[in-house]
């Protein structure tokens, strides 16, 4: 209860509640992860016969020296930094706007949800058109003549835009659910306390939304670190012009499924995993410091 301490019995009971999830996650996520970790240390490994020539850091050394990997790493970090904050803030903004609509809220919510169900193929085709150098809408609007998708300078930016746009609906839904949970009394109280709309947002809504923000941020970091499908679709199966959009995940995919470099792919997976862990950890730490008001009891 309020100040209860864990006991053996309570731990057993909790494990019963956790068992289904743990079982499935253990078998289908943890176990493959372990095999991947192991594989990343194999040298002269025959993937099919399972013959292990030896153990070592060769695969990591390979990554260390591979310029493509460096590029992928740089692109990925750049991409995540470009996408995550924008995703969180745009989704929050849109959710806040949607939340206060007196009319047509359902309509707008549905529309914003559309990209999430529309097929990636259709989306990438439309963006292909929007970004097209000659008959693209973007160039027409901006009065430019940029080859967004085929110019290595712009291709990563284009990908960032597409990813932000596409994940918006998903995050809006989550933020709307979060906003729904807020007690309107706090808004009323802040209103009476003289808070402007902006002050209400920064001083009341935003801190109270912390749990949802943590969720969305962590999730955005994770999914964007793992971005692959959008690249594949947007650049017609390549990693963009001159590898401009190669990400760690694309690199991993290519090494594993195209080049049959299984241990290298595993090593890349390990690096990717470690990297996400690090960044997510930092984000969580940041939010943790800002959310301890929930009390030590739960949280």
């Amino acid at each position: 209860m309020l100040n209860a301490k864990p006991t053996l019995k309570s731990t057993l009971i909790a494990l019963l509640y956790l068992a289904p999830l743990l079982l499935i996650v253990g078998v289908f996520t943890l176990w493959p992860l372990i095999t991947t970790f192991l594989m990343s240390g194999y040298t002269h490994y025959n993937y099919f016969t399972n013959h292990v020539g030896g153990l070592g850091m060769v695969n990591f050394q390979f990554l260390w020296h591979d310029p493509d990997f460096h590029l992928a790493l740089r692109n990925t970090l750049f991409f995540v930094i470009g996408v995550v904050p924008a995703t969180v803030f745009l989704a929050l903004g849109a959710a806040l706007l949607l939340n206060r609509l007196p009319q047509l809220a359902t309509f707008f919510r549905t529309v914003y949800f559309l990209p999430f169900v529309t097929s990636t193929v259709a989306i990438s085709l439309v963006w292909n058109w929007l970004f097209h150098r000659d008959n693209g809408l973007l160039n027409a609007l901006l009065r430019t003549h940029v080859d967004w998708l085929n110019d290595p300078h712009y291709a990563l930016g284009a990908l960032i835009i597409v990813c932000i746009w596409q994940n918006l609906g998903f995050n809006i839904i989550l933020f709307l659910a979060g906003l729904n949970h807020l007690d309107p009394r706090y808004q009323a109280a802040a209103n009476l306390d003289g808070a402007s709309t902006w002050q209400r947002l920064t001083n009341v809504t935003w801190p109270l939304l912390t749990p949802m923000t943590v969720l969305i941020t962590v999730n955005a970091i994770i999914t964007n670190f793992k971005v692959f499908n959008q690249i594949y679709a947007l650049f017609h199966g390549t990693a963009g012009p001159a590898n401009a959009d190669i990400t760690l995940m694309y690199y991993l995919y290519q090494k594993f499924y195209v080049e049959n470099q299984y241990p290298v792919a595993a090593a890349c997976g390990v690096v990717l995993f470690g990297l996400i862990l690090l960044i997510t950890g930092l984000a969580a730490l940041y939010f943790h410091r800002h959310a301890w008001w929930r009390g030590g009891q739960r949280g």
Binding site: D183, R185, Y186, A188, A189, A190, N191, L192, D193, G194, A195, S196, Q199, N203, V204, P207, L208, T210, A291, W293, R294, G295
Partner: protein
């Protein structure tokens, strides 16, 4: 700030909570709002604060129509019935919040907050979050948060209900003092008639969507305009008897046509006396003593009489001699019509 309700009606889905309300609160007045639970007191405050918009009618502040004005611009401070403290802010930050919104600098606002925390005796809880406060502590923080912004209109929704008697008296007087000092127009919702009678300039009794009566505490107590008010104000509650039953016992002169129209006879507990005083007497009632109760320095006596059970607060604690008759004083006796109207008031009319 002068506040004026003109023909204000408020309906929720099925129910009309306030029905064409008209009244004015003068600038600097402290008005207590009394009324049964669910009568619309909180609703009324919410209307004033701008958190609800009336279904019909207009709300004027100093003569300006503010019916549709944003709450933020009304300069209203409100203690919510359930406090609505910000869960993510410490006590100090909660209290300082309105000042922060007004862009008061950090040092000044914390100094102020500290001062108000002291005022409501939560200065030893400043770093705690609301979750870790007791009910009464939360209520006090809410009060401090409201007072600190020095609003033009102060709305207090049962701000002291969770405090112990001593603290309650202290804070009640403190509120009164501050109110006097700053001259802020104040509406105080309370269920404690003692509070209302003691600090309010005027009391408004709200029930069934309408204002039943408005006036000073003494006026309401001594000259209720209808049976509801008579019944609602005063402990122990007024004794209500069928007029037909009591008629034989009344010897003094009550205008007969009034007696004719009346349906109910009301007797305050202090109007049933053991001895006669220099006050006019209406009659005498034979009684048998049923039970006596000492509450603090106060005693109540439950007696049995031919017209039913009655409560008197004027029978001394009996050692041996038990009274057999009680006198019925005119002051404190009322006649009510079937629709509740007060037809005759022993204090004023006798």
């Amino acid at each position: 700030m002068q506040v004026q309700f003109t023909d204000i009606t408020l309906r929720y889905a099925q129910q009309t909570v306030l029905d064409r309300l008209n009244f004015t609160v003068q600038d600097g007045e402290l008005v207590a709002l009394l009324g049964p639970s669910g009568s619309g007191k909180t609703t009324l405050l919410n209307l004033l604060a701008g958190l609800l918009t009336p279904s019909a009618g207009h709300l004027l502040f100093n003569g300006t129509d503010v019916t549709h004005q944003d709450p933020r611009h009304r300069h209203v401070g409100m203690v919510f019935q359930d406090y609505a403290l910000y869960p993510h802010l410490s006590v100090l930050d909660n209290i300082a919040f309105p000042l922060k919104m007004a862009h008061v600098n950090r040092a000044t606002r914390y100094a102020q907050a500290q001062k108000y925390a002291q005022l409501v005796h939560v200065d030893d809880q400043l770093t705690k979050f609301p979750r870790a406060l007791s009910g009464g502590q939360q209520q006090r923080v809410a009060l401090a948060r409201t007072l600190i912004k020095q609003p033009a209109l102060l709305l207090l929704d049962e701000p002291l209900s969770n405090l112990d008697a001593a603290l309650r008296l202290e804070l009640r007087d403190e509120i009164r003092r501050i109110q006097r000092l700053t001259g802020v127009t104040t509406l105080l919702v309370t269920h404690d008639q003692d509070d209302a009678l003691r600090i309010a300039d005027r009391i408004i009794v709200l029930a069934n969507g309408r204002i039943q009566q408005s006036g000073t505490g003494a006026a309401l107590y001594r000259h209720p305009q209808n049976q509801f008010v008579a019944q609602f104000i005063g402990t122990p509650p007024i004794n209500l008897i069928d007029v037909a039953a009591i008629r034989p016992f009344i010897h003094a002169e009550i205008p007969p046509e009034r007696l004719q129209q009346a349906a109910t006879f009301g007797i305050r507990s202090e109007a049933l006396t053991f001895t006669t005083t220099n006050q006019p007497i209406l009659g005498q009632l034979p009684i048998t003593l049923e039970r006596q109760l000492q509450i603090g320095r106060d005693q109540q006596t439950l007696v049995h009489s031919p017209i039913g059970r009655l409560i008197s607060s004027q029978v001394p604690l009996t050692g041996t001699q038990s009274p057999t008759t009680l006198f019925l004083q005119a002051a404190g006796s009322f006649l009510f019509a079937a629709d509740g109207r007060c037809l005759w008031d022993g204090d004023a009319d006798a």
